[in-house]
Symmetry: D2
Subunit: 338 residues, 4 copies
């Protein structure tokens, strides 16, 4: 098999293609011919070593992926050769609430990931891909897709008709946008560029806010919600956005914190939190059961994730470059195999 490796804590230039020997399949194992992978912000954190418990040896990167089962261990019961599968973000988090043990390992970080022609894993760590999606589209669900799902419907507990604020047009926000609209929510989305806001509107956003033109953009969110604020913010920013997010949140509302693009601790106004009965909820990806729920929802509603651009396996480094420097609108995908 061919695979890319990085040295965690290195740099983008450290990405190199390698060849690894084929290994035997355990009783509960799947051998998967990979068809596509895609990039997420966390993969840059892994690359530059800003991630917990990274190995000190070369690692196959990326967690988002899709492949076809080509061989099954003799005790495998959930899949058959020919099935298309996607990995669970955390191979040990099948079900139930979060724990340290369940989230100790994720693909493409503490263990090898998806940027390979062949992946081996226990069947418990995989989920059937949606039938109506091609491999590149399916390879967007396990990280940004799952994070958006958990933020909206599990940790965020958004009910039909809830008002949701999405910050920017990054991967999680765009995923949240299409999921939220398919679930009947009211969506306000922000960006610094009117062109991107227009594209978000085309995808169904009910209202848009240009935060470059409105530095106090929470006031605009309040105006768009009759002064009440939103029920839920999917907060992908950090210490620069959170004070605004909290002010844009309704009494009893939640700010679900799913990422942190800007650095440093977050300063939270205790008065806003307390006086309005507001909450700040952290989350990281989700369980395999949540991913299965997402897959079902995507299938029922014929949702198609947004792909910005696809690169061939040979040009994986270009995909990284594009992801880093071009502010893609949608996922950056790498197709693997013919």
């Amino acid at each position: 098999m061919d695979a890319y490796e990085i040295m965690p804590g290195g740099s983008l230039s450290g990405l190199r293609k390698t060849s690894r020997p084929t290994v035997p399949l355990p009783a509960h194992g799947l051998r998967i011919r990979m068809l596509a992978a895609s990039l997420n912000a966390r993969d840059l954190s892994v690359m530059c070593g800003q991630f917990h418990a990274l190995p000190s040896h070369p690692l196959i990167p990326l967690v988002d992926g899709c492949g076809e089962v080509v061989e099954t261990g003799k005790k495998v019961s959930r899949f058959r050769p020919g099935d298309r599968v996607i990995p669970a973000y955390y191979p040990n988090w099948t079900d139930g609430t979060i724990s340290a043990q369940k989230t100790a390992i994720s693909f493409g970080a503490q263990v090898d990931g998806t940027l390979t022609t062949e992946m081996l894993g226990l069947e418990e760590a995989f989920v059937r891909a949606p039938a109506h999606l091609d491999a590149s589209e399916a390879a967007t669900l396990c990280c940004a897709g799952l994070t958006a799902w958990n933020a909206l419907f599990v940790m965020g507990a958004a009910r039909p008709g809830a008002r949701v604020l999405l910050l920017g047009t990054g991967n999680v926000s765009l995923m949240a946008l299409v999921l939220a609209k398919a679930a009947g929510l009211f969506v306000i989305i922000t960006s610094s560029q009117d062109g991107r806001l227009q594209r978000a509107s085309d995808l169904g956003a009910d209202e848009t806010v240009n935060y470059h033109l409105n530095p106090d953009w929470h006031d605009e969110v309040l105006r768009l919600t009759s002064g009440n604020g939103v029920d839920l913010v999917v907060e992908v920013g950090g210490e620069r956005t959170l004070p605004h997010s909290l002010k844009a949140t309704a009494f009893g509302g939640r700010v679900v914190v799913v990422g942190r693009l800007s650095g440093g601790d977050i300063a939270v106004s205790a008065g806003t939190l307390i006086g309005g009965g507001r909450s700040l909820n952290g989350l990281t990806a989700g369980s395999r059961t949540m991913l299965e729920d997402l897959v079902r929802f995507v299938e029922i509603n014929r949702i198609r994730p947004i792909i910005d651009r696809s690169f061939a396996f040979e040009n994986a480094a270009d995909a990284y470059e594009h992801f880093v420097s071009e502010r893609p609108f949608g996922k950056v995908s790498i197709t693997i195999g013919s």
Copy 2:
């Protein structure tokens, strides 16, 4: 003001038009010029006396309605003249969980209802009508609409992607169908007539089952859900349908019982309930807060309730006749005023 009256426990022929004097407005009261009303199965129960705590004097019937505020008491703060409003099903159930006290009174049953040119009520008992609906459409939300909403999203706790079974194409089921699809659920609906199933498909139903052709229709539901059954049944039938509904329900699923067209006690299989961790949940309409949530959802998703046919106020008796004998597909509406 002109109004229709019935004598609870009487018959359809007892419906008669009358004139009532205008009364002064209390400090928290609204005077409402009614624009539309509509019929529900519960109104027939009230008519023939099969309803709890009915008065022994003439009563203005119907609970579904929509009108325009023409005068407000001096302490009214939520509405202004010109606002279009719909009544809450239970005037005393504003918020929180159900109680005997909150559900003791409903419009058109224990107190006067909506089949009148002018309605008086406390502002606490009314909700703003959705802006994009005409009065007849808005006059469908407080009974069938609210019941469907509570069944799906409050008592039923349906999450996006949940599989829902709707029984027949009566008012609650049709409302549940359009609400469920707007919220991204998977909907299976039953009917004894292929023509009605086709119309349900046109409204978005994912799968249909003709229970006349499939007496063991739960088997068909299991087949359509890969053998798992549905997460939720909105059970509007009774002792003839419930055993099938329970068999069509997945492990951990719920049958929400919202009405009972056929008579007698319901026979429940304890083994099915226990072994599968299934639930049977009763409900009746809902709170004003639920109705406000429904109105918001309807507005966000530009939902239009289905009207079968409208009748003029003068021909209210014909509307009753049509409702009883013609198996309407959608609501039977009565327009009031010019």
Copy 3:
């Protein structure tokens, strides 16, 4: 190892002692020297074949048990030799919501159980026993204890101060009594015998009802709750008790159905269910995570399960006899080993 075997679908006289060869330990396996087991009503159902998917070969019966780990497979991480453990009721239900797959197998029914000197199982299927309990006491938690826990706090969702009705003084009810009181609930318990009611009072029951003297005992429950009824009934009876239980339940309350001592379908009053927003919730035992929660609660509150009588391993048949014929007050325990 020595073990008892039954032939499912046989009779009590079929219980016989046998010897089985020692088998090698799998990588994730535990070898457990059993110290105690105890009897539950479901073990009689297994014995007489009234249980789903029973094997057609001899079976080691019982699910409640406690033992000491004497050997661990080479990949075991949760336990060490010397740890005292109790089995999870369903070895495949670790976490999350119920499913057919998770509940397909339970110890002492579809696979061998605890009435043996040595038990082999995967570590995933066991839980640490509470430190302050002896083996017989710990051997009461995985069936009656877990069922009571799930009924009260998971499916029943009882909040502190909730009013709970317990039916009779069988194993689940007595467990529920001590758990409920330690959690600050208000408990009403029924029995046909004043002596048993007195013992329940001594264990903390707030109110008692002799259903023999009060055939319409729901009226008594209503009287003891200012006419409101209870928030939760742990319904262990069946078609004879359920109509009363439903009438004894408050608006918005739940009847959690956990067993069914008397036969036949249950007749449910749809009007009572619907009009009061009441629910009927089935459940069967629970997950390993629930059992771990129970163990923690039992430890924190120094709860001691009630043992009616203990029998030596040699006299297991006498334990069965006592369980069947003597209406024990508390668990019937079998001690194993020295």
Copy 4:
């Protein structure tokens, strides 16, 4: 009637006794002869003007109180003369979730409070006092009691056996201690004084931590919870304690923020929040329904709130002094009337 008044934004020396005329009772009003009141930290904030929307005219202070109904308006249905009642913290928050409108007014802040011989209010704003408590004890529930209840069981959603961390031995923490133990929780409490920790142990605390001797007291909390951390922190501190509280919280756990003794914004570690799926939940007091639930729980479990010292109505200024300067252990109460 005699009453004390303060000028919000003034100082402690501004407390003065005054006499007010008797006013007629509205139809839904209660005239209440006050028996006791008690002090809370928020009353100091009101005094010195650090509270939202305070009036610019003299105000009767305090929200905690207990009195006897002496006259009822002609439409009052929930109370009769002779009933002992306590106020709801927010007179307009009867039920359901928090909103700006429901929390706009609280007694002793935006409107007159309890430090008076006679209080007038609408029946909707009052709750029956627990029968087994004297007036001073009952006059501790509506602020510190309700806040602790909401923090533990509503916003905190603590389940039986949950591990809870309480910070210091102030009013909310001591209330939370006795409530938590009566509900079967595991309680760790902190203080800077061993003597106060001993008294907390005597009240049932399972573990104690001297934060003066352990500046990194979160490490001690982790040690006491096998390295896992607690499920819930009732955070009454602020920017100095919160970083520790968050580190002391288990994966998936919550820090409920109910007050803020130290000033400034709170710095939150986004990594800790996100990586562990942790939450920060603000709350302020609670609804009347929550207070009724608390009263029921207090009655069922015969809970007696802890009174540090009582002062006569004539010496109300001394009560304020004692509250401010003496670090009471328990509530500071003022008895009113003979």
